[in-house]
């Protein structure tokens, strides 16, 4: 069977499964809709969190991105996993003990202020929409590349599916479809990686294969017998230096910038509402801790494989294209040329493809080959000549990654509207039934807006993803942390801290990305910190403001301090722990 047939079959089956699960787990109350009745087993919550977290970008783009960045790409790996250590120890269990449904609600209750609740819900909506725009586009792109459907049609199919299970099932439906989506996406990611690792190094575990020596069979695959017995990373380093790139295992970015970006991504992860609300869905505090452990385990399976794929794919790609006559080019190269992800421009007219530093469009560079970073994952199975069903799996996996993340984000938006804005502030007396209708309407409207973003992608999406993390890092992270670990953290401090954090990060990013992009380089950044890493500084400013303003303004009321005390222990408290003060 052809790749196209396999893709349709596998995608069709996976969609049927999602619809069945959504129907079986439809929501009956707001508790169901927002928090799946707090009945999700931790291992399931771990899988759902993994699918929630790993987006179209993680699945399709990350390995390719790293393959171009070498060691510098490690800030994505560390930054997008390290946040879970913080979630497990600093946030998850205590938010579960709090037990309500949304992050703006927690912020509003803890800081006894509706202004903070409104500010938080605006942040939550902004961050989630920024993120979801990329997901719906990702759905369209996967459809168009693998199934010959137009991007817009793909977005509409994806919208219809998410609309069905998000409005019907709410958190409950989303959680169990995400479990299925995790299984689909991890299989799709791992199968080609295992095959390729075997081919090149004889080691079935890609994480180990990346640091192993190339076998005789692998050397044949690379069309270079001299590579046999050498470490794969050494071979890649040599290839890189021969072509005029820097060594793969060396970094080029200033270390201070890598440090700040890593920190910003970590605390941004820990401040993202769609991840935080997952901890509301488990039965107990201890389950919140272990579900963070499962989540990171399931995420790390993909994230430790990504750098291996980056190394395999880059070595394979250069070896099978560089200095090869175009007419002898491998069939996958010609297949993917049609999509524009790879291309060749014979600048010196010798009919041979040459890879070098620089862009293929730059007449001064000797480079003749266009390589889009997404090709490293998408064409990986074809480069390794794997069976058609494996190639078909990639499409289903990419869709699972994009749809699961989109659904989690849409739920945050819908809950922010129905629970925080309507029930919390505008119409506090409405019934549970009425609120559920609002939640469904909110989810439906959010899906449609997200779909519009997918069909008419705003040009600034790539720029604002850094913004989403920076904002989460500078607004939610410090306030939730202090809200749990410092009983004396008060409303005034939180309000000033959030404003300063948000304003600072916004100003810095808007200046370098939109107002004056010409000076967006390390000589102009403050202390060499790029806009991607500025969230760390924003968070630090938020902490300082909270502390200083808190010193000069009244303490929070006693019942708030007691509430904070009660978050810290499992079980019901009879005597408040602050009674001794």
């Amino acid at each position: 069977m052809s790749i196209l047939t396999w893709t349709w079959i596998l995608t069709g089956l996976s969609f049927a499964l999602y619809i069945y699960i959504a129907y079986a787990s439809r929501a009956k109350s707001t508790g169901d809709f927002y928090a799946a009745e707090q009945s999700v087993p931790p291992i399931m919550n771990g899988m759902a969190t993994g699918a929630d977290w790993m987006s179209a970008a993680s699945f399709i783009s990350m390995a390719g991105l790293i393959s171009f960045m070498g060691r510098d790409g490690s800030f994505y790996l560390m930054g997008w996993t390290g946040g879970y250590v913080l979630l497990a120890m600093l946030f998850g269990p205590y938010l579960r003990k709090y037990g309500k449904f949304t992050i703006p609600q927690f912020m509003g209750d803890r800081y006894y202020s509706n202004s903070i609740r409104v500010l938080s819900l605006l942040c939550a909506i902004f961050v989630s929409f920024t993120y979801v725009a990329g997901q719906m586009r990702g759905v369209g792109v996967v459809f168009s590349r693998f199934m010959g459907v137009s991007i817009n049609m793909g977005v509409i199919i994806g919208m219809a599916l998410v609309f069905f299970y998000a409005t019907l099932g709410g958190m409950k439906g989303i959680t169990y479809t995400q479990v299925a989506q995790y299984v689909v996406l991890i299989c799709a990611y791992m199968v080609p990686a295992v095959f390729i690792s075997m081919q090149l190094t004889g080691n079935p575990i890609p994480q180990l294969g990346m640091g192993s020596a190339i076998t005789a069979e692998g050397a044949m695959k690379l069309n270079d017998v001299t590579t046999q017995g050498k470490y794969l990373l050494d071979v890649l380093n040599n290839i890189q230096t021969d072509l005029g790139f820097s060594q793969y295992t060396n970094g080029a970015r200033p270390r201070i910038d890598v440090w700040f970006i890593t920190m910003s991504l970590m605390i941004g992860t820990a401040g993202l509402p769609h991840i935080l609300i997952r901890f509301f869905t488990v039965p107990k505090m201890r389950d919140a801790r272990s579900s963070a452990g499962y989540a990171l385990l399931f995420i790390a399976i993909l994230y430790t494989t990504a750098p291996a794929i980056a190394v395999f794919a880059r070595t394979n790609f250069i070896k099978s294209v560089h200095n090869v006559k175009y007419e002898d080019a491998p069939s996958w190269f010609k297949n993917w040329e049609k999509t524009g992800l790879v291309g060749w421009k014979d600048k010196n007219g010798d009919g041979i493809m040459q890879i070098a530093k620089g862009k293929e469009t730059d007449p001064k560079s000797a480079n003749e080959v266009k390589i889009d970073r997404d090709i490293m994952v998408l064409a990986n199975p074809e480069i390794a000549k794997l069976p058609n069903w494996v190639v078909g799996l990639i499409g289903a996996g990419g869709l699972a990654a994009a749809l699961s993340t989109a659904a989690g984000l849409l739920l945050v938006i819908s809950a922010a509207v129905s629970h925080d804005l309507m029930k919390g502030i505008l119409k506090p007396n409405m019934s549970d039934k009425e609120e559920l209708i609002w939640a469904r309407v909110g989810a439906g409207v959010a899906v449609c807006i997200a779909g519009l973003f997918g069909i008419y992608p705003p040009g600034f999406v790539a720029q604002v993803v850094a913004f989403a993390f920076g904002l989460a890092a500078a607004s939610f992270f410090p306030c939730i942390l202090m809200g749990i670990f410092n009983k004396k953290a008060n409303k005034e401090g939180a309000l000033v801290g959030m404003f300063v954090g948000i304003a600072f990060v916004t100003a810095y990013i808007v200046y370098f990305k939109f107002v004056n992009p010409a000076v967006n380089d390390k000589d102009h950044w403050w202390f060499g910190i790029s806009p991607e890493g500025i969230g760390t500084v924003g968070a630090a400013l938020n902490f300082i403001c909270m502390y200083v303003v808190g010193k000069f303004t009244p303490e929070p009321p006693q019942e708030i301090q007691d509430m904070v005390g009660s978050l810290r222990y499992p079980g019901k408290l009879v005597a408040p722990p602050s009674a001794g003060h």
Binding site: T262, R286, K572
Partner: protein, 88 residues
């Protein structure tokens, strides 16, 4: 199940904070220190085909993160039992 003694709970919270700080120290050490600050110095050594600093940045830190969460889960479950606040 309910919790009575205030002093005991403060001790429970203190122990929790010590455990958290210990874990955060390791978290910082493997990623920010080994994976970023001294990465070039560590790259002079090899484990198998990996330069050590590169390994920390690409795999070691993530593997350590997973282990860290599970040791935290284990220690906190024991702490819950020690102070008799464990949930069912």
């Amino acid at each position: 199940m309910s919790v009575h003694a205030t002093k005991e709970l403060q001790a429970y919270w203190k122990e929790n904070l010590v455990i958290i700080l210990g874990h955060l120290a390791v978290w910082f050490f493997v990623s920010f220190f080994c994976g970023i600050m001294v990465v070039d110095q560590l790259d002079k050594f090899m484990i198998g085909g990996f330069p050590v600093g590169f390994w920390f940045a690409n795999q070691g830190s993530m593997i350590t993160f997973v282990i860290l969460i599970w040791t935290y889960v284990y220690m906190m479950n024991n702490l819950d039992k020690k102070y008799d606040v464990h949930e069912g």
